[in-house]
Symmetry: D4
Amino acid sequence: MDSFADLGFARVDTSREARQGAPEAIVAEGKTPAEIRAIAQALLDAEASSVLVTRADAEARAALREVAPDAQEDERARLAWVARDVPEARGTVAIVSGGTSDLPVVREAQVRAELLGTNVVVHVDAGVAGLHRLEPALPDLKRADCVVVVAGWDAALASVVGGLVGAPVIAVPTSTGYGATFGGVSALLAMITSCAAGVAVVNIDDGFGAGTIAARIARQSA
Amino acid sequence: MDSFADLGFARVDTSREARQGAPEAIVAEGKTPAEIRAIAQALLDAEASSVLVTRADAEARAALREVAPDAQEDERARLAWVARDVPEARGTVAIVSGGTSDLPVVREAQVRAELLGTNVVVHVDAGVAGLHRLEPALPDLKRADCVVVVAGWDAALASVVGGLVGAPVIAVPTSTGYGATFGGVSALLAMITSCAAGVAVVNIDDGFGAGTIAARIARQSA
Amino acid sequence: MDSFADLGFARVDTSREARQGAPEAIVAEGKTPAEIRAIAQALLDAEASSVLVTRADAEARAALREVAPDAQEDERARLAWVARDVPEARGTVAIVSGGTSDLPVVREAQVRAELLGTNVVVHVDAGVAGLHRLEPALPDLKRADCVVVVAGWDAALASVVGGLVGAPVIAVPTSTGYGATFGGVSALLAMITSCAAGVAVVNIDDGFGAGTIAARIARQSA
Amino acid sequence: MDSFADLGFARVDTSREARQGAPEAIVAEGKTPAEIRAIAQALLDAEASSVLVTRADAEARAALREVAPDAQEDERARLAWVARDVPEARGTVAIVSGGTSDLPVVREAQVRAELLGTNVVVHVDAGVAGLHRLEPALPDLKRADCVVVVAGWDAALASVVGGLVGAPVIAVPTSTGYGATFGGVSALLAMITSCAAGVAVVNIDDGFGAGTIAARIARQSA
Amino acid sequence: MDSFADLGFARVDTSREARQGAPEAIVAEGKTPAEIRAIAQALLDAEASSVLVTRADAEARAALREVAPDAQEDERARLAWVARDVPEARGTVAIVSGGTSDLPVVREAQVRAELLGTNVVVHVDAGVAGLHRLEPALPDLKRADCVVVVAGWDAALASVVGGLVGAPVIAVPTSTGYGATFGGVSALLAMITSCAAGVAVVNIDDGFGAGTIAARIARQSA
Amino acid sequence: MDSFADLGFARVDTSREARQGAPEAIVAEGKTPAEIRAIAQALLDAEASSVLVTRADAEARAALREVAPDAQEDERARLAWVARDVPEARGTVAIVSGGTSDLPVVREAQVRAELLGTNVVVHVDAGVAGLHRLEPALPDLKRADCVVVVAGWDAALASVVGGLVGAPVIAVPTSTGYGATFGGVSALLAMITSCAAGVAVVNIDDGFGAGTIAARIARQSA
Amino acid sequence: MDSFADLGFARVDTSREARQGAPEAIVAEGKTPAEIRAIAQALLDAEASSVLVTRADAEARAALREVAPDAQEDERARLAWVARDVPEARGTVAIVSGGTSDLPVVREAQVRAELLGTNVVVHVDAGVAGLHRLEPALPDLKRADCVVVVAGWDAALASVVGGLVGAPVIAVPTSTGYGATFGGVSALLAMITSCAAGVAVVNIDDGFGAGTIAARIARQSA
Amino acid sequence: MDSFADLGFARVDTSREARQGAPEAIVAEGKTPAEIRAIAQALLDAEASSVLVTRADAEARAALREVAPDAQEDERARLAWVARDVPEARGTVAIVSGGTSDLPVVREAQVRAELLGTNVVVHVDAGVAGLHRLEPALPDLKRADCVVVVAGWDAALASVVGGLVGAPVIAVPTSTGYGATFGGVSALLAMITSCAAGVAVVNIDDGFGAGTIAARIARQSA
Ligand SMILES: Nc1ncnc2c1ncn2[C@@H]1O[C@H](COP(=O)(O)O)[C@@H](O)[C@H]1O
Ligand SMILES: Nc1ncnc2c1ncn2[C@@H]1O[C@H](COP(=O)(O)O)[C@@H](O)[C@H]1O
Ligand SMILES: Nc1ncnc2c1ncn2[C@@H]1O[C@H](COP(=O)(O)O)[C@@H](O)[C@H]1O
Ligand SMILES: Nc1ncnc2c1ncn2[C@@H]1O[C@H](COP(=O)(O)O)[C@@H](O)[C@H]1O
Ligand SMILES: [Mg+2]
Ligand SMILES: [Mg+2]
Ligand SMILES: [Mg+2]
Ligand SMILES: [Mg+2]
Ligand SMILES: [Mg+2]
Ligand SMILES: [Mg+2]
Ligand SMILES: [Mg+2]
Ligand SMILES: [Mg+2]
């Protein structure tokens, strides 16, 4: 029943969407434009509801446009995507970030979640250094089916939010910061040892993963 | 609106359950039996639906029994708990572990999730070294509202399960193993870099955290 | 001008108090009771305003009592001390901790700061998992000349406090927690990468160091 | 009472100065020139006493100049700032560095401290490899209300200074050096485990943080 | 009996092939084109069965062509090689990779193994996120004398294959991925702690090492 | 075709031997004696050719004896095993260790390899600090079908052997040593970065894994 | 020419002294008393000038006494040794430590250096927190042929001494301290990145190694 | 007595040579050409016997030439130096490296040692992968007053040499290699845990430090 398209250099998992409700996506790094093109084509041929290319430089994004003229992109977030048969939106994901520099990761999570068919509301730069900036976001956070917290540095925002809301919290450490932030490691450690129960963590800068699990949670909660 | 019981050595967050749907729990390590007793009493006085003491040695478990004769315990998992007004079960969490030695963490997740009011089904020792052992678990995993994967060593089970099911996957790295397992660090790293999208990770050996988020997901999905 | 008492196995820095305003203290670990006795005696002979023994087991604490019958002790915090000519208290240090298990470190900071001649006010268990528990502490924190934040796990409390008060903040990571807390490393990293400016950090579990610098700041601010 | 300017991509904490006595600053890395411009404008609109942009390349520094023609800059330290209503200087901060290469971090600490309204005296390249070079700095260090030690490599200077002065010492590890300096990690570890009590540490290369806490200490000590 | 060619800057181990059945190869990084040329010439003079230059940029690959016009190359895998007296192929190595981005490492292993005289069969992109993609590879894997698993991220494929085949498994962690993959460290740790017995690991991205040991195993098994 | 015995707390992989030529073994740590007994019984019932219990204290070893009176044990190596239908020995594995303290790991590798049906020859304490002690071992090492190098500290022996023999080399880092050996991590790193090609590495102290892969290589080479 | 005594479990390098001027020594950890006895006997039979057992608990020290009634011991330093034909002392080694707790390592270095035939002068507890305590040691340090600095915590003493003396400096990091000392790692890193040129480092707590190289330097300098 | 030249941005330690027998050197990284020029001039004015600039790109090397037309340079080793009053050579240092890529570090050690007044003999590329290549170097190594071993990867050469020679061994880990070499960390760890006693280690790639201590040892041994 499970199938894939064998391109030689890639076995495109065309049955992932049927199996798991979310189509395979393409990490552009480490792939040639030709490979991206072929993989995207294979996914489109298999009627993927959407195709998302992440970590995509200009060349990689152009590759998608060649096989899908209706492709959209976000340069700063290094994303290109094409929405074909996106499921009707169900449930709501609220994304909140600690700072402005977390924006690319916020966007990656947002685009993925929307492509999987969920509503997304975003609050950027509500970090703990000025906690009152979180307040206007609280109604959205408390109302959401899943909350995604995107933060670098000490990532304290994840614990603060994790102590306030009743929804599942997905935390995304980001590589923003310098020195002992160690490219997001300190944020990851703070998030995974959060004193607030009910917080689970994805890889550093992995907006894609966060968007995937958050959309699943939100959709099945609606 | 938010309140706490001030015991001097502890500010027991008696409003956590109202605020977040899950009562505060007690980590026994670092607390005296008298402190555990007092905190448990404060939670019971505030009509917590349940009180759970984790990382509890015999003395700590006895402390709970003194204030709650109806307390139950699991020695191997170092747990004591009392179920008072547990919400009616909604939704299902499936827990699967890689090995037998993961049992204490499995139990911690299970007890917490059940106390929060969800159904739990458990499959122990279905690790990747003998992948066919996972097959009988698959129907349960595919049917669950949330899947919890508990694994030490290389934690490859998280990725395998994460590539098969459509539900959100919460991964719990365990400290089982020796040498370069580094007390669960290698498992944590493998899980957080899982090639399967939709997997989020909690702290090493943190069955409690996994049970908390899993129950939230399951209950709101039902 | 600078002097020391040469005991062969130790060169007791008897001029430290004159030079730096805070007497030498004794880390008991790695020293025999006889050595502790002799060092304490040398400090008392040199008219130290106080003698503090940290990381002291029962034997080490007894050693101090033998040379100073007026010695006090705190078993849980593994402290013994004798106050002889403590300067009149000037300024105020506010200490706040994330959890109950941080108590020994809180106490070490408090005793040291008081022995150096400052007022200390303490708030235990005001962690971020239930942020409303911090509110009653805020007036004290905002009024203090120096704030000491003691926290383990993700240590998010340091950033929250660091974003609210105008006084210098000294953060003490503690080794409470398990798994990826790595004995306080995650707390240390979160504190040192705090998104709140004006937070400086001492060693893991180093209540002594925090008490020393906090007392200096408070006294010179009064 | 607390307020912020909502720019969509940023919630500028315009009440930070009123709340904590030090205005919000801007880390340029991760922000576009347009964002820097807008944030700086919002701070100026809110009558910040100064605006400081750190980690700023030429483009980022130009962005500040566009909204504040009176902006100053330090290319090597990657700083741009505008001083508008800087408080009258109170107290003194002494900054001492181990080597010449630490200069950019020294400058960042100095500029921030001066903008917050304190006097700063600087001694560069007084490292332990030639300890006699520290002697001419000692009177300034002993007279200061707060001493900032900036050092890379082994950072031994922090402990030496920490054993000589009575003022609070803020240590800034720098990323100077190669090999096992690990980008400042070895310096950070040496500073945070300093055998001299009363030393507290900020992030690697974080002149900004050091300047902030040092100015607070110095001002309230005067 | 053992000999070498002394070039001053290099002592080319011309007897390695006689001693160990595999000729010395050349890591291009850290060597000048002139050095590569001279070393390659020395190996050819000593009648090496093949000369392989790894980690070779365009200049380094050109260097080999200058002394061996019959040289071949693979730009993406940064390889250049010349096959002179390659032993007749004996035994079979099966290489399987988790993703498309692992291709350069796959190629390095393949070329080295073939130059040592063994048959190589390759399956790319059969990772665990879509396990059914492994199935068509299984007959080849079960039939091989040695299986090489090349994978980045969580490297779960190594354990899955290690639990299915009876042949020795050589695992090669790759540096594909971002965030907490730490340049292949997480993959290395997962592979070396594999719950499947009979898996041994080489350095991150070390296709060369894997090809060497795999060819030895395959040839002596035939 | 693949089967397992479901004991509730364990799914004993009774088909592993048929599938992979080596029976499942039992890590005693983390299991109760009753569990060990039941798992061993299940393996014996399924006609495993041998049952091996590793990391076994006295209680765990006694558990095996209860179900298999013919069990043997090695206290220092913490092993218990029963040999029932061990295949006739084919091929030869040579094990060489750097020091005397590596003996438990040497023994674990030896017992496992012998139980899988291969000849084993052992040379203990031939480390690089006195390289001439390796010489008498060389004929055995050069003659073997697979060489296992067991070493702690700097593990230099692996590279020396790896530069001398033509057979595949399996390296086992051990946790012998103190200080910067970091429980075997330094040995692991040295082995995995060996300048000798054709060396592959298993987990720290993992004699079991080394014995498994070495026996496979030796048997198929004979 | 090079020889060894083959005891089966050990190949005692009886020619090390002739080859390298320093007899093989015995690390007791990981060896049985019987093994220690036999190795010591083999060394004595081969007319070692001395036999030194390090990391020796009471049992291990007793083992040496059984074969050498003239053995001496130091319980705190966990040493036992027998001096038989110690070369006449040549040259001088000066050992200086940062604190009292470094004593066991100081002693290990001292005993080893004396057994190799050199004069040793010791200064304990002259750390940087009270730098004036170093002054009385300076004449000895400046006069020595080799200086050994033993220090834990931040190990700043190594750099201070390294900037003052003209002799080669051997630095020994110790595991004294807690928290971010990481068992001596921070000291090791500070020493190996010392801003003072001419400092070389041995393993954490490795008084033995320091004593060996220091004695070699001192003897050949006399 | 001790003096320095105060340049504002640098306090040039002009008395280092009188105090310690080796003139201060200049790390070019982090300094402007103008600063390098001024520091070099200050050293020449103070009659340094030599001036050495390390980690020097073309600009930095040109800076030295401007103040010292007789300056020499080594581009690959990124060195510039001027020899003015180099002491007559005494004693011999033997440098041996594992590979060709270690050449820059070898050269840095050699130049520094020669400038301090000692004879240097060099053997490049004698690594353990082909141990017979070490043999021709052995007479030089055994004859030397100090042996410097320069090696990357597993750095096994340090232990092999450390087990053969009677002279003090200074080991220099290099950053050659990829993957788990971690920029020289694995080499550092292997060297510092060497099973051969009498090996001491300097920083990764620190030919300068090795040359300094080796020259000291050699000169005082002659
Ligand atoms: N096993 C556990 N792991 C992690 N967190 C826990 C665990 N058990 C309880 N908790 C949480 O830890 C907090 C208790 O912290 P404390 O104030 O130290 O008792 C509570 O808020 C619980 O939600
Ligand atoms: N390559 C090198 N590695 C380590 N230290 C060096 C090197 N070159 C010079 N030095 C030392 O580093 C110090 C220079 O530090 P700085 O003040 O930054 O110039 C001098 O005291 C030199 O002894
Ligand atoms: N890609 C590679 N990875 C690891 N080792 C390699 C690689 N290519 C060649 N080698 C080995 O590295 C050694 C070359 O080291 P060098 O003396 O620096 O040229 C040779 O003995 C090769 O066997
Ligand atoms: N930004 C991302 N981070 C993590 N995983 C991703 C990302 N984008 C795509 N993926 C997943 O990575 C896999 C792509 O692997 P590959 O075979 O290398 O293309 C897909 O199955 C995606 O689900
Ligand atoms: Mg912001
Ligand atoms: Mg099992
Ligand atoms: Mg609490
Ligand atoms: Mg300098
Ligand atoms: Mg793929
Ligand atoms: Mg031995
Ligand atoms: Mg002391
Ligand atoms: Mg070479």
